[in-house]
Assembly symmetry: C2
């Protein structure tokens, strides 16, 4: 394989996580070790910024800042939800692709690392195929990222371990609080977590139980399984009778047996005439209070859960960093059209070691990975010991961010701009 000399472009896409910047740090620090990579550019706001030729000059950043990315949440380069949609908008997609390669050529981009979830891996795949077609020498490697943990082939997705560590900690703490307040009347607290179609995030809070059935969470509602009102209410009632309180974790995307999202109430309209989307937790609260007359409170962690770097998993951050490094090493060695995946190596002493490997992007794009049904209890309300064995190693270890004046000291990139060479993109 001939050495390919040129510039590296790295970008971040989709929803941020606690450790996506650790992957970015891995890409940057590894790229800095190879002479064949001349400039390191960051695409501002993912593919959107690349289309607009908005590049950040990474070699203008301080080494200390890059090091700080290892514990800084969110996407330091900025991110986007922009999708090059080859199916529904073929013409626009073709135009976008032309523009991308104009930008690549103008800046002599020869290495492209794209950190993201399913859509981003699909984009990377398309860019790789296009480069082959155009015989434009480009090495494209995808770096996995998603709190949803729904990418196939990789043992887990960077971001997932941290979100379930934070959410499990929260469930433990809220459980102690509600348990301390519980009187003979009983009480219930419903914690809504992310996860629109796959229930990995909700399921991960089973770790808060630490093997004790009495510990919260007492019920976990997964979006994969239809929500059955009567069965759920019976389970809440049974739990309150046993422990005086009940902690429910609900994945935001749970659906009733007809397939409609539980959080959407189409009968109620707000003052603008839109349906009231109270969210799953509010809907369940209404149900438990109305039917069981049990005092119920809700917690909606929202973006806080995927940004909670103050409670990030060191295992997760380390794997995220390793994926970034591995992407650059793979590209340097001549690979293209692959995603880095995380491989679990069970050790004889029960511990786990982690390594990385490559998987063709064609195997990744648009495939969603769900929790195996036999990792969940028969009644559907609790992941079992198979799930726990899978998830437990992912939350081990604590990322220690420096603290200043009582708050985490996160870094921000200077973002010095690379001079544009092309005319603005047509709208």
């Amino acid at each position: 394989m001939d050495e390919l000399v040129g510039n590296l472009l790295v970008a971040q896409s989709g929803g941020p996580t606690s450790v996506i910047n650790a992957s970015l740090a891995g890409v940057i620090q590894e790229a800095g070790r190879h002479d064949c990579i001349e400039e390191i550019y960051g695409g501002a706001n993912g593919i959107l910024g690349i289309l607009n030729e908005e590049f950040i000059d990474i070699n203008d950043e301080k080494a200390r800042t890059i090091e700080g990315l290892k514990y800084t949440p969110a996407a330091a380069l900025g991110t986007c939800r922009y999708k090059i949609d080859f199916k529904k908008k073929a013409e626009k997609a073709a135009k976008d692709m032309d523009r991308l390669f104009q930008v690549f050529e103008a800046h002599n981009i020869r290495y492209f690392a794209y950190i993201g979830g399913n859509d981003s891996q699909d984009t990377s795949h398309k860019i790789h195929e296009e480069a082959v077609k155009r015989t434009y020498a480009l090495r494209v490697i995808g770096v996995p990222k998603t709190i949803d943990n729904d990418l196939p082939h990789t043992d887990n997705c960077p971001g997932y371990g941290s979100v379930i560590k934070y959410n499990s900690t929260t469930v433990m703490e809220v459980g102690l609080d509600v348990g301390a307040m519980a009187t003979d009347d009983g009480s219930c607290c419903i914690i809504e977590v992310m996860g629109r179609s796959a229930g990995w995030i909700a399921a991960g809070t089973v770790l808060a139980k630490r093997g004790n059935p009495a510990n919260p969470p007492h019920i976990i509602l997964l979006p994969e399984l239809p929500f059955e009102e009567e069965k759920f209410l019976a389970k809440v009632k049974e739990t309150v009778a046993a422990y005086k309180y009940c902690i429910v974790v609900v994945g935001e995307g749970i659906k009733d047996p007809t397939g409609e999202e539980v959080g959407a109430n189409k009968k109620l309209l707000d003052s603008f005439g839109h349906p009231v989307l109270a969210g799953a937790a509010e809907k369940l609260k209404e149900l438990v209070q109305g039917r069981l007359n049990t005092k119920t409170r809700t917690v909606l962690l929202g973006y806080a859960q995927r940004a909670a770097a103050h409670c990030a998993s060191l295992t997760d951050a380390t794997n995220a960093f390793a994926c970034g490094e591995a992407a650059v090493r793979a590209a340097i060695s001549g690979e293209s059209g692959h995603m880095v995946k995380i491989v679990r190596e069970a050790q004889p002493d029960g511990s786990v070691k982690w390594s990385t490997a490559l998987q063709p992007l064609a195997d990744i794009a648009n495939v969603e990975h769900f929790i195996p049904r036999d990792w969940i209890s028969e009644d559907g309300y609790m992941p079992n010991e198979k799930f726990v064995a899978y998830a437990q190693p992912l939350i081990e270890g604590e990322v220690k961010a420096p603290v200043e004046a009582g708050l985490p000291k996160y870094v921000v990139l200077e973002k010095s701009k690379v001079e544009k060479k092309l005319a603005p993109r047509e709208a």
Copy 2:
């Protein structure tokens, strides 16, 4: 002062906090140093458990467990919202008081430390007065606790520093997340925090700005000031124009100019015929999306914020512990009818030292302490440098809880029961 020999009773009341157990540890460890205190009992679930003669034998607990209370959230003894209401239910209150003194006498309780907020200090005050009237030798000391920070005379209330440390951390993290996702369309995130009448908790998130006006939170809505829809929308619009995103922190109890809570929508009824109480954040989201067409998400921290010991302030936990110790020392030295208060001692080098002192319970009960108006910007949306100077020292330092399998290792009391000596309380 003659030495008073007998047993000590300690109980916890009202909403739990991250550090109320640190106060409990202070009471217990200090009590263990004095020979005049024979037995140490914990009242299960506050005054309610005392009325029911439900005592926990603290000397049966391991020293290691008591030490662990210093970093364990919620109320280890259990808590309650039960109030002895001398105003509205005088007859029942008199009956409760009789019962309390029967219980005290049966168990030779001579020291009573009650850890709680306004209502609990009122209860302690009444018990002290009753003991004087009955010439029953009892030393009653209140220990302050409330995340609401609304007790008078004390510099701050244990629990407050920790809740604003966690909330400020969350605002920083969510701000990075939303900022990274912000495109030219702009986006908004509304974070609802506790505080029904006093805005101390919402105001405390100003610390996340770390002196930079561009940093979130961009708008803080305090329950003390009337919520004005148009003015608020204009401020959101201006913020999104400047920074592409806007983080709003709202105290749950904000009210419109007519005094009605913003979260309560009396026009909408749920399927049980109850008014829909979507909460302030959901209401504001509806407003921002509907009127400004700006994508808006919400975070509702709920109980998570007051239980987040994994992010507790060491200053707060240390003060909480010191209040517990001071309560016992005061009682031993012959004091009764006081609450321990925290005193701030500004040092010449700008740092702060903390000590404790006593304040008569008569000065505390039923007085609510609000943020001075001149600690808030003229437009009402941001606490100013006076507030920051007050709040900053309260979040300094990190409580380090031990970690096991990736999660905090909190302690649970054994709760061995003290044998009852009385007939059950009449219903």
